[in-house]
């Protein structure tokens, strides 16, 4: 079995985007940067396909994670990259979204002077995200968090107006604070266990006050970066004022990166220090996030702000993972492991469904802003006639966010409801369904306006300086939206992938 072959491909996932970033600085011309981008995206796709093909098939589910010790140094001194089913899924998702968004950005920034600064930062961000998903070392994770943080802040600041810069500054301060909390926990863990490696920590970790303190610091730091209510205050403005492709990747992937780490720490590295009360607390915050995010989305007056608040709600669904991990009395270890598997499968589905749908929505919103120069929801009356593709994309992606069948969002909610009922936690069912209803209200409010004719014929929907967007822009959004549908029909693909390497 070609284990070593797969492992030796792992560094490429970081090296390719870094090379892309360097070449985007060196080659300053418009076509050169786009060409570099497309080449980098293409090679990422090839590498990820090779990795997926090299993964073991179903019979080998118990295979441990693939490891690649950088420069041959073994842990605890060396830094390893590792890959299991969960990270393979997120890396595939990243590669797919980055490819579509790179294509979109090539058109989005074609006439903008911000292009020169966009491309290097874009590839730096991708390198950071890939490195984070591959890291098997808690300090290396801190470095990747900072690469992601600094690149993301610079990308938010690209708009250059006062609102964008203020949002970027707040995002930066929140990010730095979150990373420092995390770094303090790294110091505590190194003091306690003398290693930084994920697997070695997981083997050594036990339940003691310092471990609890470390887990609490990690959780506060990462929850701040993931923007769970009540620490979500920075997200709507940062995601709402960035350029469209940036908003898309921030909502689709960057918040998921810190969530991925939370899952690693709570389910694997510091699992012995986790208590049922703590799991419940995260679940309650998640439930609050669903309701609060949906209500704010309903009240938003700008389209992008509405989509950003919907991200706050969707992050809430992800945190329902934690109460579903609670062990009830009289449950055997194998039953608990099966329960963990199905909870993780449901949340992974959520991550993928939300990433595709939210990226599609931000692309649609970006097209509307590109054409009209604003995204005031009240002034979108009758827009469907002028931008049918973008509004169609918005509607399909919205259907997935609401959880309408046959979308991926529906399957994700269905899986999650199943686990909630199996573990006798019926109250989450109420919250999940209420969240779906509220999301439907928010999305139909926009669609309703867009598809009706203006009340007065004289009212001018489309301003004089209306710009038609190149057809590739709405098409890339549509491709993502259709993906949420395709994933709704192929539920097994994702679940099989999660199971590789123990799934945790």
């Amino acid at each position: 079995m070609p284990i070593s072959d797969v492992s030796s491909l792992l560094p490429l996932l970081v090296a390719i985007p870094l090379t892309g970033a360097i070449f985007s600085v060196l080659i300053n011309s418009k076509h050169g940067q786009v060409l570099t981008g497309l080449l980098a995206a293409l090679s990422l796709v090839l590498v990820i396909c090779a990795i997926l093909l090299g993964l073991p098939s179903e019979g080998l589910q118990s295979t441990a994670a693939f490891r690649y010790p950088l420069a041959g140094w073994q842990a605890p001194l060396g830094i390893a990259l590792s890959l299991d089913g969960f990270s393979a899924l997120l890396l595939t998702l990243t590669t797919f979204l980055v490819t579509v968004l790179t294509f979109y950005s090539a058109y989005y920034f074609s006439a903008s002077p911000a292009r020169v600064r966009f491309w290097p930062l874009w590839w730096l961000l991708v390198a950071g995200i890939n490195a984070l998903f591959l890291s098997a070392d808690i300090f290396n994770v801190y470095v990747t968090l900072e690469i992601i943080g600094l690149a993301a802040v610079a990308l938010v600041a690209l708009s250059g107006n006062k609102a964008g810069l203020t949002a970027a500054l707040r995002y930066l301060l929140v990010g730095l604070l979150g990373s420092l909390c995390y770094l303090m926990a790294v110091a505590l863990l190194y003091h306690l266990y003398g290693t930084l490696d994920f697997a070695q920590l997981a083997a050594k970790a036990d339940s003691n006050p310092l471990s609890w303190a470390a887990l609490a610091l990690i959780t506060v730091g990462l929850v701040l970066k993931t923007a769970l209510v009540p620490l979500h205050f920075w997200l709507p403005h940062a995601h709402g004022s960035a350029p469209a492709p940036v908003s898309a990747i921030l909502s689709a992937l960057v918040v998921k990166a810190s969530f991925y780490l939370l899952v690693r720490f709570w389910m694997e590295i510091l699992a012995p220090a986790v208590t049922n009360d703590a799991l419940m607390l995260l679940g309650i915050l998640g439930g609050l996030a669903i309701l609060w995010g949906c209500i704010q989305a309903l009240r938003a007056t700008r389209l992008k702000l509405m989509v950003a608040y919907s991200t706050v709600a969707q992050i809430g669904y992800l945190f329902l993972l934690f109460p579903l991990l609670m062990s009830a009395e009289g449950v055997s270890e194998s039953q608990l492991a099966a329960q963990h598997q199905s909870a993780l499968a449901a949340v992974s589905y959520f991550i993928v469904a939300h990433a595709c749908a939210k990226a599609a929505m931000f692309i649609a919103a970006g097209n509307i802003i590109h054409s009209l120069g604003h995204d005031d929801i009240a002034k979108l009356q009758g827009m469907a006639k002028y931008m049918p593709l973008s509004l169609f994309t918005f509607a399909i992606a919205g259907g997935s966010l609401i959880g309408l069948p046959p979308s991926a969002g529906f399957i994700a909610k269905w899986l999650m409801l199943n686990v909630a009922i199996d573990t006798h936690q019926w109250w989450w069912v109420v919250i999940i369904l209420t969240g779906g209803l509220l999301a439907a209200l928010a999305i139909f409010r926009v669609l309703d306006l867009a598809f009706i004719k203006p009340e007065h014929a004289s009212e001018q929907v489309v301003p004089d300086n209306w710009q038609k967007v190149p057809v590739a822009m709405p098409l890339s959004g549509l491709a993502l939206a259709l993906c949420t549908m395709a994933l709704g029909f192929n539920a097994d693909l994702i679940i099989d992938l999660i199971m590789i390497g123990g799934g945790e």
Partner: protein, 95 residues
């Protein structure tokens, strides 16, 4: 209480002071300073870690160096954003 313990405790105190500063003070420059104080607290805990063995452990030293580089980069970025925002505010007032 050993010297290393003293460093660790003061590091945690500094971290707390910085944390309080970030949350309680509205002034943005002071917030940036507070985050740096927070960072220094974390670095002191790392240094205390390094000396707890018989010989000095070099892994925490490497981590502190990386942490300092990140802190400098973050601070520089925050300051440049503040400068740009102030310039935009100045333009608005002039207009």
């Amino acid at each position: 209480m050993t010297q290393a313990m003293l460093y660790a405790v003061f590091g945690i105190v500094l971290f707390g002071v910085g944390l309080f500063g970030v949350l309680a003070i509205a002034h943005v420059m002071k917030k940036i300073l507070a985050i740096n104080i927070c960072g220094v607290g974390v670095f002191m805990v790392f240094i205390a870690n390094a000396s707890s063995g018989v010989a000095a452990d070099f892994v925490p030293h490497a981590m502190v160096l990386t942490g300092i580089v990140v802190a400098v980069a973050g601070t520089a970025m925050a300051l440049s954003l503040v400068v740009r925002i102030n310039a935009l505010e100045q333009q608005e007032e002039d207009a």
